[in-house]
Symmetry: C2
Subunit: 498 residues, 2 copies
């Protein structure tokens, strides 16, 4: 069946989700496929076959007759050094025809979206093709029908959980707000009141912390599907990482390329959010859209438009959807980064004096809305009920119980290296560039160094004295701290103080 | 100035034009920039700085404190093993804002196109960004003004040649037709008659041969700018590789991604062709658009539309442009692949009995049109004049003189391995899939193995007997021949015989 074989040797190159194959320039397959094009080929271990982009080796890190694969490819072809691999020509990919049709502005059918999404999940799309798909969907505004069809295709190509319950709630915040870690608080409140909220969260991609990164400071988040079921059946909710659950796996691939392009087209955004909610078995979904200059959504008009599209698609997909529009002008809480955000969450749940009030208020508002949406509270009574549960300590007890069911309850630690950034002149804080604050936390090492990040101490309206600390940067190593401070050398306009 | 440094060690990985940087997973910069995103950073050798995409090394091919770069990056940072490199955070790229504006359908100004194209030439765009730019331009049909502005930006960001002559002619064929190697014949004819035709041709990217690959079988094509001038001043023309001349370098980058996506949007196509002609110093340009099922342009309507847009933009750019529409239903000549096409060219120039008549006729038609466009022949008299020059042997003598001025005149050789592909049933040839024929020639090793390719022996209308040879595949090694034949295992429908 295979006319060609080469011997595998691992090089250990991690190229992320796009598979790469490495071959020597004197290999006849390299010559046949050509050096000039952005060539892709097929590689098989005799059982599984992957599509991989070709990089050419012009050194002796591979010997004649050898071939290597990027790390992602080794998760599919489980080959070891010295074993044979079979490279072959990549035959044409049918759904690229649909992709081209979309580029040229044609409306796609559900079947065509399904073929595209299936091929994306199978790894047949390189970053170039993913980028073209994302751009074409953004440029040729998808119709409501297309957004629903795209969502359905994303749902079909992943796992779907059935909780055998009619009241499964979820919330989602349309990102962009550092420190906005309300989810663990909301879950603790609503599950205390008997709602089911099995939350699978993401890790950060370009932000300094995802909910899963933050929760990992306090508890275990890498749970198997069976373990998740056990936790939810016991406590009514969970706060775990969704990465292993393969809900809407196409979205996990698309989202990386969207972040690289820094675009969020309406169609992709709605399909991304709602496909995951359906796949997670939710019946009621609350969507939070913060508006702000440096948030994802920048104007009230844009938020209202997005909101109505979201409700329409939600209804086609059979979800009871509610959208609320909130303030996104500045970070929420004080901490930005996994451990620092975890500390804020615990302060709110424990009703500490120094707990960030804005984080508490946001969490109560969202929990209240969810309680009303799921008819646990009467219209207008959700907030007060949520507040009572939080302030009586019931939410904290529930949170601890969920964490213990997930396998641990730990207190967050403090980073060993830090640097206070002080005001050079006095005044009132007028504006905050959330994106730059997030970038500093990230360059300091968050989230892969969980103690890294920053504490933000100068919210909008603060009266600042010369020399007063505006924020403190934390890092786990001197090198990471320096790397973040280098960014500050070039960006002094993070806060506008007048 | 730089807070971080690592020691370079070459790995010899060729990733084509996109620069990659390799760092170990335990490197603090890797941790700071994050593993999850498609991260890009800056790398400097202290003088030059490049933008590179990050791949993470999870093995010992790099030691702690080491860093590596892809081969393309080493053409800019000329660093050797053991020397220091300085990685730093990539600050935001301004023209990405214009890219996003184009994605969302806004019209760009000449200045915005210029910023984008400048950043592309500077290597600041990853394949993801190039793909988004190409897709956005295709999806939001560029206006005539935008196409001219894009062309001007491409011209401005490269070298422009001034021949100090008002009659500099050129021709271009809108690709897609295997074996269509008329250029060397046309040049020989028109330069015999005193026209100036300094032709810089491309090498193949996804086709089995570019004009430069074919000419390299017969003569030298890698000439410096000074050598090209000398040849053109002596003989009136040249047939060299344009790769070193840096005419419209942005186009060289965009075209690779367009090929990977297999799209050719009108705007990009026109800007690509015409920007190179202006940069090469041409005054009169003849464009050949072959139409065919498997050619680049598939219908007469599309060809006429493209033709009128091309004339409009040509006129804005100050070019005298003529477009002719020709038959693109099948390969031209017999050979497909550098040496086999070179043999056909020589057969025509030498007026051999067995010279492919279709190649000769096409070359005469194009030469005739050019002679009329540049007023060397009267309207309607170009073809006869071209025919006379060819059949009297003047064109062949000129061709040899040009080759000798370029440094050599060699006869093409024949490949050592071949396989005749025979008809399984009798009938009349009705249709030919040019793309699949080209692919077989390519998989057999063309153009990097110059003797590889195929001889096509069954043009449309041929009466075929069972067992008659339809085409012969040639290769320089048994492995390459096998690799091409493997493709044939899956594709039996290359010719339609009824």
């Amino acid at each position: 069946m295979f006319r060609n074989s080469l011997v595998f040797r691992r090089l250990g190159i991690d190229t992320q989700h796009e598979h790469f194959v490495y071959m020597r320039e004197d290999c006849h397959i390299c010559k046949s496929e050509g050096f000039e094009a952005l060539t892709r080929i097929q590689v098989s271990d005799g059982r599984e076959t992957i599509t991989a982009s070709l990089n050419i080796i012009r050194s002796e890190i591979l010997l004649p007759g050898e071939i290597s694969l990027s790390e992602s490819a080794l998760k599919i072809l489980k080959v070891e050094d010295g074993q044979k691999l079979y490279p072959s020509h990549l035959h044409s990919i049918n759904s690229f025809g649909h992709l081209r049709a979309k580029i040229y502005g044609n409306k796609l059918s559900e079947a065509q979206f399904h073929e595209i999404i299936k091929d994306i999940v199978a790894g047949k799309y390189s970053n170039i093709h993913l980028s073209a798909f994302i751009t074409a969907c953004a440029a040729n505004n998808l119709t409501t029908e297309e957004i629903s069809d795209l969502s359905k295709a994303m749902i079909k190509t992943g796992h779907v959980i059935d909780w055998h319950s009619e009241n499964v709630v979820d919330k989602h915040c349309i990102g962009g707000l550092p420190g906005n870690r309300t989810t663990p608080i909301v879950i603790s409140i609503v599950t205390s009141l008997g709602l089911r909220m099995p939350k699978t969260s993401s890790r950060a991609i370009t932000s300094p912390a995802g909910t899963a990164d933050t929760m990992e400071v306090i508890t275990e988040v890498n749970l198997s599907a069976d373990e998740i079921k056990r936790v939810v059946n016991k406590e009514g909710g969970c706060i775990v990482w969704g990465g292993t659950s393969q809900l809407s796996p196409a979205d996990d691939l698309l989202i990386r390329v969207e972040k690289a392009l820094d675009i969020d087209s309406e169609g992709q955004l709605i399909a991304s959010v709602l496909s995951k909610k359906v796949a997670a078995g939710s019946s009621h979904v609350l969507i939070d859209i913060p508006i702000g200059e440096t948030a994802k959504v920048r104007s009230k008009e844009a938020a209202i438009h997005l909101s109505s599209k979201m409700m329409e698609v939600g209804s086609i997909l059979g979800l009871k959807t509610k959208v609320i529009i909130t303030d996104g002008s500045q970070p929420v809480g004080r901490g930005i980064g996994p451990a620092l955000e975890a500390r804020d969450i615990l302060a709110v749940l424990r009703n500490q004096e120094d707990a960030p009030k804005d984080l508490k208020e946001r969490a109560l508002k969202l929990a209240g809305e969810l309680l009303e949406l799921a008819s646990v509270a009467a219209f207008g009574g959700g907030y007060q009920l949520a507040k009572k549960v939080l302030e009586e300590g019931k939410a904290y007890r529930k949170f601890k119980a969920i964490c213990e069911a997930q396998g641990a309850f730990r207190e967050p630690e403090t980073a060993p290296y830090s640097k206070e950034i002080k005001a050079l002149s006095p005044g009132t804080v007028q504006d905050i560039d959330n994106r730059k604050l997030a970038k500093i936390a990230k360059l300091a090492g968050a989230p892969s160094s969980p103690l890294a990040g920053l504490d933000f101490l100068a919210p909008i309206g603060s009266q600042i004295k010369r020399g007063q600390t505006l924020f403190t940067v934390y890092a786990e190593s001197q090198g990471e701290l320096e790397y973040a401070l280098e960014y500050l050398d070039y960006h002094s306009n993070i806060l506008t103080i007048n």
